[in-house]
Amino acid sequence: MSEPIVIENLTKYYNKFLALNNLSLTVPANENVGLLGPNGAGKSTTLKILCGLLRASSGTAYIDGVDVSTKPEKALAKIGAIVETPEFYSFLTPEETLGYLGRLRGMDGDHLKSRIKEVIKQVRLEEWSKVKIEKFSRGMKQRLGLAQTLLHDPPVLILDEPGLGLDPRGVVEFRAIIEKAGQEKTIFFASHQLTEVTQICKQVAIIDHGRLLAFDSIATLKKKYKSLERAYLELTEAPLD
């Protein structure tokens, strides 16, 4: 079996700006890996390339052994993703949105209906399932975003700041859902919240200026730098007081 996520020598330029600099990384099966780095480090760019939203200037990204740039449909069939703050068609309800996305993924009939109910319950949107999304807050859209990643029960979850915009209760509930999903799925998870990453992931990749600075278990990094926070700050060259 191939590794769920393999990134090989990924380089990305936005005009002359170098966003990713020869980045290589492998996320092993059934592992939850956090992707850490300061603003502009290249986290979102990496995830967008994995999700087929951006093309790499050079290098390759594989999902379950499938090259995302040459066979995007086959690669995307394996993932559930939240990239940036999710936005949905405002004229649809959560049920209709999930119905649309589920059908695009080949789900249908009673199976789709029951999965929609399950994931809506999981993200606690039951009372809003028939309300048009135009009335939704950012946090509610974020919940729906998570629901659509889980709908088709994909083996790989790619999450970019999934807790953004949630209230404290929402953050706790979110973390619990992701932790549970992480027991049987591979999760690649970009975040600024070190506490959140520590609770969900066993391994982290720290990047800055598009380069991989460290990829190790949290335990090893804590041992080497005393805490994950110190590891992050030292590696990303932020001043330590």
Binding site: P86, Y89, R105
Partner: protein, 264 residues
Amino acid sequence: MTEFEKLRVVIGYEFLKHIRRKRLYIILALTLLAELAVLILVPVLGDGFPDNIMVMAAILSIGPSLATIGAIFFAGDAIAGEFESKTGFILFTNPVRRTTLVIGKYIACYGSVLMLIVLGYLIVAISLLAIYGSIPIETGGSFGLCLLYTGAVLSVTFFFSAVMKGSMSATVITLVFIMVISGIIDSVLMMTGQPHWFMLSTNGDSIATIYGGYETFMGGMGGMGDIPFDFEDPSISLSVLSMSLYLAACFVASLFISNRRQLA
């Protein structure tokens, strides 16, 4: 699941989007108002309805305007909107080709504009039947040309929607291109006696001139005085060719650009 099955899903949900939009019902109401205005103003301001049924049929043909307004308002945000409002971050991470998404959106837009056009032609047919007791066979030709014109305008709109960053700018630029720029160039070419069959506004005129040309139309309306140049009626076959070219070229270009476009 085949791409064709995915296409059907996309068409269904995109069509749902259009029928839930207020703009559809506003344009439907405007269509009714425009046709009603023609039916009231022509006999009130002139000496009753024109004797020639072809003249009345041509006056009632608001198909080109309907097709233009409908296509632009439904399709201006078709592609640009996915990038601008960031709904593409959800939609494009699904295992479906962008080509399938764009074709699905195009067909759904076409279906929505078709509803407007069918309503417009139903009003034309019922009115002519009520006033003259018959419907000229040319109405069928006019309807066919209008369908092709709709396809061409939609393709132009999709092209601008694929190129532009925002939905509003795509909508405004398409509107200006079709209703202002194309019209001005068309008039200049017409007045200087140059060929103008390739202009979209000329192609739109063919939807009404199929009933007998500019001369019949203006004569039936009481003439337009002495015009210092000759109006050449648009050639139907050249208009068909021109509209087909716009439809194919702009649509293929919009597919190509959409596939290349990145969501940064």
